[in-house]
Structure formats: C-alpha cells, structure tokens
Point group: C2
Chain length 297, copies 2
C-alpha cells in the first residue's frame, strides 16, 4: 500500500514534465509514513484515499525539506539530505514545488479537506518560527512549548486523521481530536527519549535538544522543581555542550523523577487520544497509540 502511495507521488511529479524536479525528488526517502497509516486506518477503501495519502506525504516532505535547510542537516532517514547533495537553493524550491503541487491536487477534494490542510501548513510554519525565536534563550513558559509542539508536530497528524474522516463521512471532530492528542503525546515521548535514551537503541542518550536551543518538556518540568540557584545553573547550560552539563542535568533529572512525570503527561495525552475515538471501534487507531505511546522505552 505504501508503495502505491509512492507511485502516486511520482505520477504527480512526472505530470510537471520538468526533468530537474524528477531528478531531485528521486533522492527523497519517505520514511515510515505514519500519517498515511492513520489515513489508511480511517478510510481504507475510499477511492481517493491513496491520492489523499500522497498529498499529505508531499506536505510532510516539503516541511522536512525546509526543516533540513534550517537545521543544516546533512542526513535524513539514513540518506544524505537534498540540501547536502544539491544545496539549500534546490531544497527550498523543491519544498515549494511539493507544497504547491499538493495544494493544486487538494482542489479536487471536499473544500473542508483543502481548508484543513492549508491551515495546517500555516501552523507547521508558525511552529517553526516559534521554535527559532525560542531558541535564543531558555524559555520557561510552558504555554509556548505547548503551542509550539501542537503547531509543529501535532497539526499534520490531526489534519491527516480529520481529512480521512471527512473523506469517509465520519464524525471528523473526534478524529481530529485523536490526531492532535496522539501528536502531542508522540512529541513528548520524543523529547523524553532525547534525555533518557531508548532501551531499543543501546548507547547514551543524545541529549541534543537542550544544546540545540530547545526547551522541551523534561527541562520545563525540571526547571519548576529546582531552587533559584539551580534554576540559574540550568539556564547557564542552555545551548552549551560538555560533559559537566550533561552529567549535572541528568543527575537533577533523576533526583526529581522527571522521567516519570513526563511519561505520565505523555500517557495522559495518549489516553485522551484513545478516549476521543472510544466509540468508533477502530482497533487499528487504538493499536497505533499503544505502540507509539504506551510502549516500553
């Protein structure tokens, strides 16, 4: 099924009849296609479901292409990133081609679907701007963190679920709610793994968020627990790298049970996702929450 989605994306790009675009995009990898999996779990047999998946994956690819330029990333999903191979210029413009071709194809769908996706891309990009603006100094305001992860991570997961439900004629608010909560839980788990590591992946955790200027939930929870002197010390380690910072932060995280606190919050959001669709009897969607949020790590 995921292969069929890739072939839809290729067809869409071939229709542009521009050999440079076809060449550049042949270097893209498509990852696990979580958003397509959600769509397929909600509207598995709808005649336009693969087309919707292809559009959402193109939006996701566009957003990653621009992210990689922003983060000066040299790899993506184990392959060299487009910006690393063909330069920032081509990566930005290929992202723009993907966004605009996706918008063009959305116009053959229910207008509610087109509106949801367009609004979502506004949120994706706003979330990125917030992320950049917040990276100058440690940001202890939790409200900004919630807005940022909701915009940056949850919005496209929420939109994917919502649009699939609109396609299928289901109660789309429930599915949007499911996706929003799943997306937030997913981001928190990601933020936890950055600090505490993942059992599945041996070796030390990366602890890269804080040194890259991201004030994620574990750091916000820790900051609340610390006395004034340690609050200042934590702040002084923001955007710093070094063994002293890593060890001090990890010791304070462990003393203050930040893992448990953060995990509980992630699971609360996971529960909210499950509750939103509790009457929909969709085992596939339920198992996605269980595998992503309630797994061991």
């Amino acid at each position: 099924m995921l292969e069929k989605i890739k072939s839809h994306i290729n067809q869409s790009l071939q229709s542009l009849k521009n050999e440079n675009i076809i060449h550049l995009s042949s270097y893209l990898s498509h990852g696990k296609m979580l958003r397509s999996k959600l769509i397929l779990a909600i509207a598995p047999n709808h005649p336009k479901v693969l087309e919707l998946c292809a559009i959402i994956e193109m939006i996701q690819s566009a957003s990653l292409l621009h992210d990689d330029v922003i983060d000066e990333a040299t790899s993506r999903r184990g392959e060299a990133s487009i910006n690393a191979v063909f330069g920032n210029k081509n990566a930005i413009m290929l992202g723009d081609v993907f966004y605009s071709q996706a918008f063009y194809e959305l116009l053959s769908f229910d207008i509610k679907i087109a509106r949801s996706v367009a609004k979502c891309v506004v949120r994706l990009s706003s979330g990125e701007i917030d992320d950049v603006m917040m990276s100058n100094a440690f940001q202890s305001d939790e409200r900004l963190y919630w807005r940022m992860i909701s915009d940056k991570t949850a919005s496209l997961i929420a939109t994917s679920s919502e649009c699939a439900a609109i396609l299928e004629g289901l109660d789309f608010e429930k599915y949007k709610n499911y996706g929003e909560n799943l997306g937030i839980a997913f981001q928190i788990v990601d933020d936890i793994l950055d600090v505490f590591g993942d059992e599945k992946k041996l070796g030390k955790p990366a602890m890269s968020d804080f040194k890259e200027g991201k004030s994620t939930l574990p750091y916000l929870l820790l900051y609340e627990k610390l006395n004034n002197q340690d609050k200042q010390k934590l702040k002084s380690f923001f955007r710093q790298d070094g063994i002293e910072a890593r060890e001090w932060i990890l010791a304070r995280m462990n003393e203050n049970n930040i893992f448990d606190l953060a995990q509980k919050i992630a699971r609360d959001y996971g529960q909210k996702a499950l509750k939103a669709i509790s009457k929909e009897k969709n085992e596939h969607l339920e198992s996605i929450v269980n595998e992503m949020i309630f797994r061991q790590y």
Copy 2:
C-alpha cells in the same frame, strides 16, 4: 488603493494570532505592486478585488523571501532583507506562512482561481530550480531560457491577469495571454538593462547576470553570432568577474547589434500582449505595456 491592499495583508496575518509572525512581517516592504495594479485595472469594482490583490501580493512576497535566501541577498527594495536581519530560517518559514495563508484564503474564491494560483506557484518554484541548475555552465539552449523566464517571471503576471478576468466574468484566456506576454517582455527588458544600462539611472550597467551564472537573452543572441573561437571565449567568461570580461563582452554586444535585436524581441512580446486584449478596450492595461516595454531606455 495600494494602502488598502497592505491593510488586507495585515489583517490576514493578524488573524493568525502569532506575535512572531506579526513582528517579522512588519519588516517587509511591498514594492510597486505591479500585479495588484493589473488586477485593479481588470476588475476595479469587484467586491473581492482587494482580497485577490492581497493574496497575490502574499504569493509574490513568499517567492521573494525564498529568492533572497537563495541569492543570499542582503537587501530588498532598498531595505534590509528578512534573511539578513532575522536569518534564513525565519525567512524560509515566513515565506511558507505567506504561501499557505494565501492558499487558505484562495479557497473562498472560484475554484478556477485557486487552481490557476496553485499551478502558478508550482511554475515559480520549478523556474527557480531550472535557474539554479542552469547556473553551473553557460546554457546556449534558448528553449530552456524561454521556459525559465516564462515560469519564473511571466507566470504570476499571467495568473494575476487571468484571475482578475475570472472574477470579473471576462474572457480570461485573453487576459492570461496578455499577462504571459507582458511578463516575458518585462523580463527581456530587465535582461537588456543589466547589460546596457538604463538612461534613467546614470552610471555603468551592472552586468551582473552573466557573472552570477545567468545565461540571459542578450548572451544567447550574442553566442549565436560569434565564430567558434569567440564562442569559447564568451563561455570562458561565464561566472567570471573582471574588467577584461566586461569590456570584451560589451564590445562584441555592440558590434553585433545585440541591443537592437533583443529590444525587437521584447517589443514583439509587448505587441503580442497588446494584441491579446485588442478588443477589450482596456486603456489602462495598454498603457502598462507602453510604460514598461515601449519606454526609452
């Protein structure tokens, strides 16, 4: 009228309720708004005309924001560029906000208008990719030049005219045709001025296109006229800077009457633009062609 369009754009951005976006976009300048002038000349009294202008200007701003990152430009319209003040990250993402908010607002228009604009953004971005790909070596294939300037410059001018005509219930193919030809003529004039300078602006011409890796029409016409040895010499100056290159190129351009040849082609496109709307009796559109293409330079 142009002030009212700016206020429409501001309202649209205010509706996003994100203080970072409002702050960043307060640094944007909007230039001469050629595209809005065309729209206003075609559908002056339509109740949605200012909204359409605001959307098209947001698309144009998004495209310039991404261009400036690509060109590492430090200024735009006499002001410091967003990328120079706030970094590439914010400039890319603000462009994405503008594109996606514009697409969102387009959904309240006739679907033909939304399709035309979405397709146009695909063309704008494809044209940029072609431009980047063509900048590695001198490109003597005229077909690639025509495709590139049609995509990069003419497409949004064509779409602006077409969409205004759709709004007004006019024969939109004629207006699209007008805009496409005007856009191509406008780009050729720009390419001529880069080599030969503009009477209005004293001082030496910039001659920056060739050294920046752009094979524009005057260079393509010159290449055709040169013998094999001089063809190689011209190619050897591609992406080079220096007094010898400038003087040699300008002498060959003058010997071969490239100014007249290129100007004739620009004017032929200007005539095509006028012919496309000859029965529409729109003096305003006619005078725009005369002022932009048939002026003294």
